[in-house]
């Protein structure tokens, strides 16, 4: 190679490496809350208990997570010995917190040893949780059944108010399960039944969507086999029983219900408020464009190097989470798909994290992600990931010139905040002004930080890469020298 070519290639390589380094440092990272569990008494463990298996399935915009965790519900007599009886209960955490066994247990319809099980699958911003709980079929007064529930906001399951009922063509035993709830309280799920307790339950025969709120009377809309998700307008997505198609329904304001076929050989798991559906076709994760069929060229999300992937949830901004086989197909890792890129969430954790994230089940509109995985002892754990707040390095603030208003006797300018990162930055944003010229005062400040005034932009929930937001600033000032200040933007607090 000649000297000239060496120089040329070296320059190109240096530029490429510099670019990659910038990309790596700008990837969104997360802080992690281990949701832990209800815990199980265990005298052999420090503290007298051990963490039980926990799985998370839903997350609202306040950071409240829901799912299932194992616990001891009592004891039973076995050849003269009292042995522990275990079950699983749904949980609902406080915002951005691990499970508190004293406050977060949703309980079940019944608390006896035979019918004492519940599963939580989704939560809306009001704190209403849906799922299903074991019950005794009330028509025959015997036989195990499962019945969908919708709790009151931030309350445990109440048999008297929360039973959504169900539907079966032969309604001697009726099963139902609820998988999703929107902000209005409309619930999507599945139901079915059998003719006697010995029958194999066909509880997933009919998909349903309930009316929004009020008394938990059951309002059935048959629309396929399983409905898995519901958005703000009442559009539900799901799958047919007789052939492997996924569908997306019309909003609840449209009657009768229309169904749009998404694609064949497809399973739909989630839908956002814009009508984008996620799931999988064949073995590969998908995300459709709003309210339309799957485009098998542009809507396939790919994998983390393995052969298969599934997309489970999507937020209002189109960010998708799910799971994927990794290279070699010897493990499954959780992913987030954003801005055309598939990221292994395990690569975005704090250094020294000693757990594996396997399956991301939910993502909210502030970018938090609920993930299932396992800890260093291979015990199933659930985790809540929150985007880090180190984004100020990527928030650039520029200012217009100042304009004096003779009527208000104020100087006015417009600040523009730009996200220069390659990942979204989540709000609320705060703009702090420092080094303000002596004699000048920022008017209408939200508060003070380290003695400096700041303004909070509560209306900004998220700033996508390359996008901007503006805010006016007003000063009182009567000096002659330049009115100077420095502005710095922060996301989600200082």
């Amino acid at each position: 190679m000649t000297t000239f070519r060496r120089l040329l290639f070296s320059t190109i390589a240096l530029a490429f490496m510099t670019r990659c380094a910038v990309c790596a440092t700008q990837a969104q990272t997360y802080t992690v809350v281990d949701l832990n569990s209800f815990g199980i008494p265990d005298s052999t463990q420090p503290g007298g208990f051990r963490h039980s298996s926990t799985y998370v399935y839903g997350l609202n915009n306040k950071g409240q997570a829901v799912g299932d965790s194992y616990l001891q519900i009592g004891t039973y007599l076995y050849y003269g010995q009292q042995l522990p009886e275990y079950s699983v209960h749904g949980f609902r955490t406080a915002p951005n917190s691990a499970i508190n066994s004293q406050t977060d247990d949703l309980g079940s319809f019944y608390s006896n040893i035979y019918y004492n099980e519940s599963h939580a699958r989704a939560i809306n911003d009001s704190g209403e949780v849906v799922g299903w709980s074991s019950t005794s079929d009330y028509k025959l007064n015997f036989g195990y059944s499962e019945r969908a529930f919708r709790t009151q906001p931030n309350s445990p399951i109440n048999l008297l108010t929360d039973d959504l009922g169900g539907y079966s063509q032969f309604p001697t035993i009726v099963f139902s399960q609820a998988y999703a709830i929107n902000g209005r309280g409309e619930v999507a799920g599945t139901t079915g039944g059998g003719t006697d307790p010995g029958d194999t339950p066909d509880y997933d025969k009919y998909g349903f969507r309930t009316t929004p709120t009020g008394a938990p009377q059951f309002s059935m809309t048959r629309m396929g086999r399983v409905t898995t998700s519901i958005n703000a307008t009442g559009q539900v997505t799901g799958n047919f029983s007789s052939f492997p198609y996924a569908f997306l329904s019309s909003p609840s304001s449209v009657q009768p219900v229309n169904l749009t076929f998404i694609a064949d050989y497809t399973t739909a798991y989630g839908v956002n408020d814009g009508g984008q559906v996620v799931g999988s076709r064949g073995n590969l994760a998908i995300r459709t464009a709003p309210n339309t069929f799957l485009n098998q060229t542009t809507d396939m999300l790919g994998t983390l190097g393995g052969v298969a992937s599934d997309a489970y949830a999507i937020n209002s901004f189109g960010d998708v989470v799910g799971s994927s086989d990794v290279t070699g197909n010897n493990a499954t890792h959780a992913f987030v798909y954003r801005s055309g890129n598939l990221f292994d969430l395990n690569d975005l954790l704090p250094q020294g994290s000693n757990f594996i994230l396997e399956e991301a089940r939910a993502i909210n509109d502030v970018g938090q992600i609920a993930v299932n995985g396992h800890d260093s002892t291979n015990n199933p754990h659930a985790y809540l990931l929150t985007p880090t707040t180190t984004s100020r390095n990527y928030l650039r603030v520029t200012a217009s010139g100042l304009v004096y208003n003779r009527q208000t006797q104020t100087f006015n300018a417009t600040l523009t905040v730009t996200n220069t990162a390659i990942a979204p930055i989540y709000g609320p944003l705060q703009v702090e002004l420092t080094k303000i010229t002596s004699g000048a005062t920022l008017l209408h400040a939200t508060g003070s930080h380290n003695g400096n005034p700041f303004i909070t932009l509560n209306n900004i929930t998220r700033l996508d890469p390359g996008t901007t937001t503006s805010l006016p600033v007003t000063f009182s000032y009567s000096g002659y020298a330049r009115l100077a200040y420095t502005a710095t933007a922060y996301s989600q607090g200082f």
Binding site: T3, F4, L7, R396, V397, T398, A399, S400, G401, L402, V403, Y404, N405, R406, Q407, T408, F411, N412, A413, T414, K435, T437, P472, T474, Y477, G479, Y480, A481, R482, L483, A484, Y485, T486, A487
Partner: protein, 222 residues
């Protein structure tokens, strides 16, 4: 290719790629027209400001010219900061102080039109890292000198022209309480001229390149 010629080629490419040294420090001119018909026959004031932003605005000046109106401008004005001149003959406002202002009495007619030409390093910041721009504001005030006319803007202005930190320029107009906009701001075609220093640099670079090319590529005659 000979190593000397290669090096000169690389230097030339680097100079050209780094860009802004070749670009002219182009002035930018806007035509600003105010429809003052609703105020026709009344007295008031016209207010022109050109102020820097909060921290590190680069230098710029606004040259106001070709002022026409069928109203009547007073024979005196009040200047603040780095402003000079008078309408309709013309004025220059520089973004030096916090407040650079021309405030002049005006018996309104149906229009007031003028050109404003921006110049200075703020228009071609190059590699300078700045965070604040400068804004030219056009306002009309009533006889009390404090009541803005024909605008609902928080600044009281009918039109703003802002030079951004990157040298780009944006204009904004504001409506009155009836939703009617009385100002128009139109960018006039550029008449940029390369700076003399850049012309000399280009000629010298060309001569060196041609000379070197001849030295190392033409066959040697014995």
């Amino acid at each position: 290719m000979h190593i000397v010629l290669k090096l000169i080629t690389i230097i030339a490419i680097v100079i050209l790629c780094t860009g802004n040294c070749w670009s002219a420090n182009a002035d930018t001119t806007y035509q600003i027209d105010l429809n003052t018909t609703p105020l026709s026959g009344y007295s008031g004031f016209v207010d022109l400001q050109f102020n820097p932003g909060g921290f590190d605005s680069l230098d710029a000046s606004a040259n106001i010219s070709q002022v026409t109106t069928n109203g009547s401008l007073s024979n005196s004005d009040v200047l603040a900061g780095s402003a000079s001149g008078m309408l309709p003959s013309g004025a220059v406002i520089e973004n030096v102080a916090a407040y650079n202002d021309l405030f002049q009495g005006f018996t309104f007619g149906s229009d007031l039109d003028f050109r404003v030409t921006f110049s200075g390093s703020a228009l071609s910041p190059g590699a300078s890292i700045t965070s604040s721009g400068s804004t030219f504001a056009v306002s009309l005030y009533g006889t009390d000198q404090v009541t803005p006319l024909l605008s609902t803007s928080s600044t009281g202005a009918l039109a703003l022209v802002t030079i951004n930190p990157d040298g780009s320029i944006v204009s904004t107009t504001y409506p009155d309480t009836d939703g009617i906009t009385h100002a128009s701001v139109v960018l006039l075609p550029s008449t940029s001229v390369p700076e003399p220093g850049n012309i000399v640099l280009a000629v010298c670079l060309g001569l060196v390149y041609v000379g070197t090319f001849a030295r190392y590529t033409l066959p040697t005659r014995y």
